[in-house]
């Protein structure tokens, strides 16, 4: 891969919510491609490029923990806010947390760590000054220095992601030796079922795109956009 990058990410917890179990949240076993894309976009993104995830290496055991928290049951309605802005008065805009409380449980991943392998392609919005080398350099420089536009996260905002660039040619960070089990697909591939690949925001109804996730020797291959592996 000519313009490929590799990024090591890790954190205390991760929560890559399954769509079917997102009210009482349960995480996927492995980071989703769209979550990986979000991390890369936090470090460097311009309208001229779009990130494509190639594969995800799992470095730690897949361990879960349950957390129960207080949350709010409703969204602030956009219409009410718009009316308040037109009116110039904040009456009735507030969302009172103690009157609208919802306890929700989350099943989260404990100490996840991954290596994201990805590359980017130029989009139709690329200008004459844009070229691959420039954006690759920007990404590598920013990632090596730890710069980001906003703090990247492991699935949800409360679980911050630490990241470190793996320089071209450098070896991958060592996998936890205890994690080299059948659970991570050592010996035989492990079928993780269908996983969210991304959401098609351009299509009407914003449908989800799925792919069949398989872990083999701790690596999850991600199908390329437009390939048969992406179900839509």
């Amino acid at each position: 891969m000519a313009f490929g990058i590799r990024l090591h990410v890790w954190g205390q917890h991760g929560l890559f919510t399954r769509p079917e179990l997102k009210v009482e949240r349960v995480s996927y076993d492995v980071m989703t491609p769209s979550a990986a894309r979000g991390i890369l976009e936090a470090i460097h993104w311009k309208p001229a490029i779009t990130w494509v995830i190639d594969r995800i290496h799992v470095l730690e055991k897949i361990r879960f923990q349950s957390i129960r928290r207080n949350e709010v049951g409703h969204k602030a309605p956009a219409g009410t806010i718009k009316r308040a802005m037109n009116r110039g008065d904040l009456e009735g805009v507030q969302l009172l947390v103690d009157e609208d409380r919802q306890q929700r449980a989350s099943t989260v991943l404990v100490t996840p760590a991954y290596v994201i392998e990805a590359h980017f392609v130029l989009t139709a919005r690329a200008e004459p000054g844009d070229n691959e080398g420039k954006h690759l350099d920007i990404f590598n420089r920013r990632a090596a220095k730890g710069q980001c536009f906003h703090q990247p996260c492991l699935g949800t905002r409360e679980f911050a992601a630490h990241f470190a660039l793996i320089e071209p040619g450098a070896p991958l960070p060592a996998r936890n030796p205890k994690a080299q089990t059948a659970e991570l697909g050592f010996g035989a591939p492990r079928d993780l079922g269908f996983m969210l690949w991304d959401i098609d925001h351009a299509a009407p109804g914003r449908p989800s795109m799925l792919f069949r996730a398989v872990l083999q020797d701790g690596v999850m291959e991600v199908p390329q956009p437009g390939s048969a592996g992406v179900k839509r």
Binding site: V23, E24, Q102, T107, M209
Partner: protein, 577 residues
């Protein structure tokens, strides 16, 4: 495989499972129609037992009714079908009208003899016609089905009815989308069928996949569109899950987590054996059923620590096992744990749990089931007071062999401080957390007179002081030093042990007059403990951390049970408290 996918697979493997679009419902009576729509007779389908339990019949799937009025196809309760109820139904007339109108619409073009008869019956029926003896009073509020007088198949089982039902199902279908369970395009379930039988959840059933508040939705999607699951997959997973929850052989209760489990392997008998063994691992009730026979013997071997692949290779390899813990939260269900692996791993992890909790002397009545441990964590020992989340987290740790939740340690210590009770179960919990989470080699199975851990020694010392007091004052002291000082002694020993030592001098002088031999023995014991202490290393520290407090509890338990054991040997001279 994801949880829903494995449930769908379990449904597909089950040959007895109801086919798509049908569900098993409790039916009380059958109305027998003539072809002209008049009623020939009304047959009681209920069982002849005392409760007159209704018969389970496969009928077109029930609609999800919450607040609205929606009739089922070709069957329903008497309020809908006939417009009669036992109580005072405000909406009864409306419900019957809706049932009639819907069916007249559905059956408008039917040419089948049976369906035409039902249409004629509904056109002519008036609620006033409901009079005994043709219509028994028992029929009120029961579910009803129909059949023709000339035949014995129910109306909903006629091929024409089934074809019509498929057609009705297809009409309401949405645009096909990719299903996140099967990966195939199909109409998406808007509302998923209810899951019934989860402990403490709503009796009418709760939903595993639901979006009942707008904070749970995304991208402007509504209801089931937030998580596209095809109608067929939603039907399959709910049917499988409801089946497991209703079946004693597939379900146990662990704390507040209703736990279902199932095995998946080529041989049904082996799968059944694995399921029975799992139930016996964690629940005593099912164990008693198996005590005799092959499974009971195998259970004993597993408990004694024998490796599964040595004596039951067919169980150790090739049996996939699934465990799912569900707990209610508001009107929803939440997944406490979902675990899948082969049965050999499951058994190995269970054996590890057993060896971690092993303690001498053991609890009085053999292997305690998991819920007995959980009750020790509950206020007043009530099952409903078991702290939420702990049961599920602990069970997950046992299944996976992962470290235990640390709240297990703090909750146990808190309960001991609150009610001053250190029994075998609590000491076993403390020990297992120490071994698994702190990799502690100092947590002994039985009384260890050479153990020099501060917490352990102080726990033993505390037990000796208590014994001295008991020897001097007898067993009827209102508040023993344990009742007064256990909490302080285990957490901040420096504050307490000086007082205890001073108090023990008075007890000793009294004891010497009563039974000099016993006093000497206890003094010897006391010295043997204090001799272990290293004065340079602060033997009585200002505070003990949680792990040391746990060892304090274990030391206390060991030393105290040692006194009682000796009493047992020489026919106790004092009443054992």
């Amino acid at each position: 495989m994801s949880m829903l996918a494995s449930l769908v697979r379990a449904h597909d493997r089950n040959e007895k499972a109801p086919p798509y679009g049908f569900s098993s419902e409790k039916i009380g009576f059958c109305v027998v129609l003539r072809t002209d729509g008049s009623v020939a007779e009304v047959v009681d389908l209920r069982d002849t037992d005392k409760k007159r339990s209704p018969r389970m019949l496969l009928v077109p799937q029930a609609v999800k009714r919450t607040a609205g009025i929606a009739p089922n196809f070709l069957w329903d309760k008497s309020a809908y079908v006939l417009g009669v109820t036992a109580g005072e139904g405000k909406r009864t007339a409306e419900e019957h009208a809706r049932f009639r109108d819907k069916h007249l619409e559905w059956l408008a073009e039917a040419t089948d003899e049976g369906l035409v008869a039902l249409r004629r019956f509904l056109e002519g029926w008036q609620a006033e016609a409901f009079v005994p003896p043709l219509w028994p009073d028992d029929l009120r509020d029961q579910n009803l089905v129909f059949r023709l007088a000339s035949e014995f198949t129910f109306l909903h089982d006629r091929p024409a009815a089934k074809a019509l039902w498929r057609q009705i199902g297809a009409e309401g279908a949405s645009e096909p989308q990719i299903c996140l369970v099967t990966g195939e395009a199909g109409p998406v379930a808007r509302l998923h069928p209810s899951i019934k039988g989860v402990w403490e959840a709503q009796s009418s059933g709760a939903s595993l996949v639901s979006f009942n508040l707008d904070a749970f939705t995304s991208y402007g999607h509504e209801q089931g569109d937030n998580a596209p699951v095809s109608e067929a997959a939603a039907f399959a997973y709910t049917t499988a899950l409801n089946g497991f929850l209703a079946d004693k052989r597939h379900r146990i209760q662990i704390g507040d987590a209703s736990t279902v489990f199932w095995a998946d392997c080529a041989d049904a008998a082996t799968a059944g054996e694995a399921e029975s063994l799992f139930a016996a691992y964690y629940d005593k009730a099912s164990e008693d059923d198996l005590a005799a026979g092959k499974i009971g013997g195998r259970l004993e071997e597993i408990r004694s620590g024998a490796q599964l692949d040595k004596f039951a290779p067919e169980l150790a390899k090739g049996v996939r096992f699934y465990v799912l813990g569900l707990a209610p939260n508001a009107a929803r269900l939440s997944v406490r744990f979902y675990w899948t692996s082969d049965f050999g791993t499951l058994t190995a992890n269970y054996q590890r749990y057993l060896s971690d909790t092993k303690l001498t002397p053991p609890p009085r009545d053999g292997w305690p089931p998991l819920w007995r441990y959980l009750v020790e964590l509950a206020v007043q020992g009530k099952r409903e007071n078991v702290p939420p989340l702990i049961a599920g987290e602990w069970m997950r740790a046992i299944l996976t062999g992962a470290p235990y939740p640390l709240t297990l340690l703090s909750t146990t210590l808190m309960r001991i401080r609150a009610d001053g009770e250190v029994n075998a179960l609590r000491a076993a919990i403390l020990k297992s957390v120490l071994i698994r989470n702190f990799k502690s080699k100092e947590a002994p199975v039985a009384l260890d007179p050479a153990n020099t851990n501060k917490g352990y020694m102080l726990g033993r010392l505390f037990a000796v002081y208590e014994e001295v007091q008991r020897g001097a004052l007898g067993g009827n002291v209102n508040a023993t030093i344990k009742d007064k000082f256990y909490g302080a002694a285990s957490a901040t020993p420096q504050k307490v042990f000086r007082t205890l030592d001073a108090g023990s001098q008075n007890h000793f002088s009294k004891l010497r007059k009563q039974s000099p031999g016993r006093a000497v023995n206890l003094e010897k014991l006391l010295t043997s403990i204090t001799d272990l202490m290293d004065p340079g290393n602060d033997p009585i520290p200002a505070s003990l951390n949680a792990a040391e407090q746990a060892l304090f509890g274990i030391g206390y338990y060991h030393q105290r049970s040692d006194f009682f054991r000796k009493h047992d040997d020489k026919t106790s001279e004092e009443p054992v408290k």
